[in-house]
């Protein structure tokens, strides 16, 4: 069991470093291996599932002085996150085979993409605040290189922006960790179960979380990061990066520490504000990737709302939301990538009637949009429903109302994109869906968004275990 856990974490981390070496000889083999490494993580996480469901928590621990002990542990929350992230990352990698194949620096791309996922695996399984921080920063480096993939002046500036915002947030968070260390003498989460954390530490850590999960007022780096290649944005938005923030919130404040009840009031309000502002931005943007990016910020705020509301229904809803959003938002970005890759523009005003040229992409985009909007029986619906119910259970009808308003805005701006891009008069007569790998990936994600909705009881079962550990 412990071995499986180690394989799950270190296969992508070590494997990523080998990819550039393989790539110098045989690019195709490198692509295959990059997929295998991520798939290994997914399979290993999946194989931990029965044990975790039966209540055991495999733990590997290295005892170190000064409370710096490092360790990895699998529990319901970590396995849930790991499976979601690695599954979506697998699809994104397959998509990349088509998207990235004509560009320079492919070795670095696959290196960083797999390292990124490896950092996510390490982060969700780590039981120490120090390890959490280590993987947090590794993901920031990978993100920096990936956003700057095209090496243009603008992309580098945006990559630097993303790095500065998230790393500065992380440094502030580390001050909070030091505060916790000062009080408990350890960085180990397993030793701090139920410990009360002073409010100032919570605020500092929240700063890091909000910067990573791109929540208002620290959100602006995320839409700007849209200059990256589409599989990268998809990775950032769907599989790895922004979910780190909500995961950290769930891990630290929902599952491990006890915090002042005032935060179950404040954080949902921040989330609600973030949700409405970004939904508003999404309604007026004309760049397809920026619209979807603002949509991510908006949806993430709802995840944060569910996780921070302080009851089981909200938390389970938040978790299912992570799953549903990863799949659907990953799909939306990849669809946008197909369109933008073939049309060489991101402006939705210059698109139109593309359903004829991109029939499968249009279907996949529609399916993913429906899931993000929260239309039954898509997976997004169940997640939304539970989060709303969580807010109502917590006696916060206003927040539930804001949430429903946000959901309506989501319906509006996603429909707007769909109508502008895929319906209406045809504008481009030469473009067509080129790569089978790319189209196959988006169709898979679209169908998955639907299938997960039908079989929602399976992930819900796992998610409901998370609250049980409290």
């Amino acid at each position: 069991m412990q071995a499986t856990l180690l394989v799950c974490i270190f296969t992508p981390l070590i494997g990523a470093c080998l990819l550039p070496l393989i790539g110098q000889r045989a690019p195709r083999v490198r692509n295959l291996f990059s997929l295998l490494f991520v798939l290994a993580s997914f399979l290993c996480s999946a194989s931990l599932l029965p044990a975790v469901l039966s209540g055991s928590k495999p733990l590997i621990r290295l005892a170190l002085p000064l409370g710096l002990s490092l360790g990895f542990q699998a529990d319901a929350l970590s396995v849930f996150m790991a499976m979601t992230a690695s599954l979506v990352a697998c699809v994104i990698l397959i998509y990349s085979f088509g998207y990235i194949k004509d560009y320079d620096n492919q070795n670095e791309y696959y290196f960083m993409a797999v390292l990124f996922l490896g950092a996510m695996m390490g982060l969700v399984y780590s039981t120490s605040l120090i390890l959490l921080y280590v993987f947090w920063e590794i993901s920031a480096i990978a993100c920096w290189r990936l956003i700057g993939f095209y090496r243009e002046e603008l992309t580098i500036v945006r990559a630097n922006k993303a790095y500065v915002v998230t790393v500065f947030g992380a440094l502030i968070m580390l001050v909070g960790f030091l505060g916790i260390w000062g009080q408990t003498g350890t960085f180990e989460l397993t030793a701090m179960q139920g410990a009360h954390v002073p409010a100032w530490c919570v605020v500092l850590i929240l700063f890091g979380i909000l910067s990573k999960s791109a929540t208002f007022p620290l959100h602006s780096w995320l839409p700007d990061a849209g200059v990256a290649p589409s599989p990268v944005t998809s990775l950032l938005h769907a599989a790895v990066l922004v979910k780190i923030g909500v995961y950290a919130y769930a891990r630290l404040f929902a599952v491990t520490f006890t915090i002042d009840p005032v935060f179950t009031q404040i954080v949902p309000i921040i989330a609600a504000v973030s949700a409405l502002i970004s939904a508003g931005c999404a309604m007026v943007e004309t760049d397809i990737k920026r619209i979807i990016a603002y949509s991510t910020i908006s949806q993430l705020a709802f995840i944060l709302l569910g996780v921070s509301i302080g009851n089981e229904t909200g938390l389970v809803g938040g978790m299912l939301y992570i799953l549903a959003h990863s799949v659907a938002k990953g799909g939306l970005f990849l669809c946008a990538g197909i369109v933008e890759h073939n049309l060489h523009t991101k402006d939705i005003n210059q698109m139109g009637g593309l359903y004829k040229r991109f029939p499968l992409t249009a279907v996949a985009f529609a399916l993913c949009s429906l899931s993000v909007m929260g239309v039954p029986p898509f997976s997004g619906y169940f997640a939304k429903f539970l989060v709303v119910q969580g807010a109502l259970t917590a006696n916060q009808p206003w927040l539930a109302g804001v949430f429903i308003l946000g959901a309506f805005m989501t319906v509006f701006y996603l429909s707007r994109v769909f109508f502008k891009v895929f319906l209406g008069p045809e504008t481009n007569h030469h473009a067509h869906e080129k790569s089978r790998a790319m189209v196959g990936s988006v169709v898979f994600l679209g169908v998955l968004a639907l299938v997960l909705g039908v079989f929602i009881s399976l992930p819900a079962e796992l998610a409901s275990r998370i609250w049980g550990v409290l």
Partner: protein, 486 residues
């Protein structure tokens, strides 16, 4: 004679021997072997110091006293090494080795002189690390200093001489401060031996003599601060580093300022534990140095000057570690010194590579060089990330230990400030990468090829060391725990 007794002899004997051989054999004959010989001395010192560290650590003794071979037989012991100085002696060996590897490529004329000067410098630093009184410390510091002035001005260009002159003038000032301080301290304490200087010098009734020792302390700290190039005494340092040959810059920034300045500060900290004034001064100097150095690094156009100001800035963290005034703080400061030496040495080897291949160090003229010089680009990323304290690299752990030391010493605000200021290191890292390596290739450099030989070997060696220490740092912690040091 124990193994340790033999090893400790090497620290003075090796450089002296190399100096003699280098000057006895005709220059033309030595031309091809002289740098090889000094690299050999450096390697031997590195190994000797590591073996010595292991032996001393295993013996359970806190220090080992020795003397020159003929005096040792008479039972004298006017030198001593302990774990701290053996650690630093290993650092000296390591950085010298890298400087020699770089010098194979960068130094063409004056090879013999380079070796001569490097051996004198090594002698000076080793001397500083093994002596047992403040005056001898000063003498060997001057030996190191004189070798440095000549090395900076070795090629006698206007720029070289300007850098050397600036360093020399400020060093003279340091000399005045230190000598005056030492004499005042001598009046009060009657001795400058480490064994006889006690924190009690500053306690008791405030009379004229106690006042003298306070003045002495102020003068000594100022003198050592000039030597280590911390703010506000930093202005000589970028000029000296920039004008010197890269191999010389590696020595200066990698180790000379750290032994001449920071180690001397450490001596004071270890002599006078619990001295709040000293502690406070180090805190202020440290924070000021971190901020000013990093802000200045953000504005420089020359690769070497960015590295130089970054060096200034990082010195602040070492001082902060010492300012915690606990054993953990000193260990953290020393580890910081090592990880910073690795990273900064790597940056100066990168500068050597860029200067050799491009003929310029102006970062505005570079751009997208990663495509042409992947090894240099990679090693600069690793080095700068380590300096910025980004995990999992070596610099992260040493910074974390400094922070933990500060926090547990009750200096929470300082720890938080020091931590948040590392975003500035991140900022000049990003700026440098954007201008030099990341981004579109500047067409001017289409025919540039990656550096080869000693410089590439050093780059790889240092990057691997930075990454490996970072990944294997838990072992360091386990060792510290095993040795009962934390």
């Amino acid at each position: 004679m124990s193994a340790l007794a033999v090893i400790t002899q090497l620290f003075l004997a090796l450089p002296l021997l190399a100096l003699v051989v280098n000057n006895l054999v005709p220059r033309e004959t030595m031309r091809h072997t002289t740098i090889g010989m000094s690299a050999g001395v450096a390697t031997a010192q590195l190994l000797a110091a590591i073996i010595g560290f292991v032996l001393l650590s295993a013996s359970g003794e806190s220090s080992f006293r020795f003397a020159l071979a003929w005096d040792a037989a008479k039972g004298l012991g006017y030198f001593r090494v302990d774990l701290v100085t053996l650690f630093l002696l290993a650092c000296v060996g390591l950085v010298s080795l890298i400087a020699n590897l770089t010098a194979f490529t960068t130094i063409d004329d004056h090879r013999s002189s380079f070796t001569n000067l490097l051996m004198v410098m090594l002698l000076g630093m080793n001397g500083m690390l093994i002596v047992r009184d403040l005056f001898s410390l000063y003498v060997f510091m001057e030996v190191t200093g004189i070798a440095s002035f000549v090395m900076i001005g070795m090629y006698k260009s206007t720029r070289d001489l300007e850098g050397a002159f600036k360093y020399m003038v400020l060093s003279m000032l340091a000399t005045i401060f230190i000598l005056t301080g030492l004499s005042l301290l001598f009046i009060k304490a009657g001795s400058l031996s480490f064994d006889l200087l006690r924190p009690a010098l500053f306690e008791g009734v405030v009379d004229a003599k106690t006042l003298l020792s306070w003045v002495a302390l102020v003068l000594l700290v100022s003198g050592y601060a000039i030597k280590s190039g911390v703010v506000p005494f930093h202005s000589w340092l970028p000029d000296a580093y920039e004008s010197a040959d890269s191999a010389v810059s590696i020595m200066l920034s990698g180790i000379v300022t750290k032994i001449a300045g920071v180690y001397s500060m450490l001596v004071l900290v270890r002599l006078f534990p619990g001295n709040m004034a000293l502690r406070g001064t180090l805190l202020v100097l440290g924070l000021l140095t971190i901020i000013t150095g990093a802000l200045l690094a953000l504005q420089q156009q020359s690769f070497k000057r960015i590295a130089a100001y970054s060096s200034v800035s990082q010195m602040g963290y070492i001082l902060l570690g010492f300012a915690a005034d606990t054993r953990l703080g000193i260990i953290a400061g020393l580890l910081y010194l090592l990880t910073h030496a690795l990273a900064k040495t790597a940056l100066f080897t990168n500068a050597a590579a860029l200067e050799k291949r491009l003929g310029t160090l102006n970062v505005n003229e570079m751009g997208g060089l990663q495509a042409k010089m992947p090894v240099t680009a990679f090693s600069s990323v690793a080095a700068l990330l380590s300096i910025a304290g980004v995990p999992p690299l070596a610099g992260f752990w040493s910074k974390l230990l400094v922070l933990i030391a500060l926090w547990s010493a009750g200096l929470r605000g300082v720890a938080a400030a020091a931590l948040l200021l590392s975003i500035l290191s991140g900022a000049y890292f990003l700026r440098l990468q954007k201008k030099a390596f990341f981004g579109k290739l500047n067409p001017r450099w289409n025919s540039v090829v990656e550096i080869t030989g000693g410089i590439q070997v050093s780059e790889l060696l240092l990057s691997i060391a930075t990454i490996a220490i970072g990944l294997l740092f838990p072992l360091v912690l386990l060792y510290l725990q095993h040795a009962g040091l934390v």
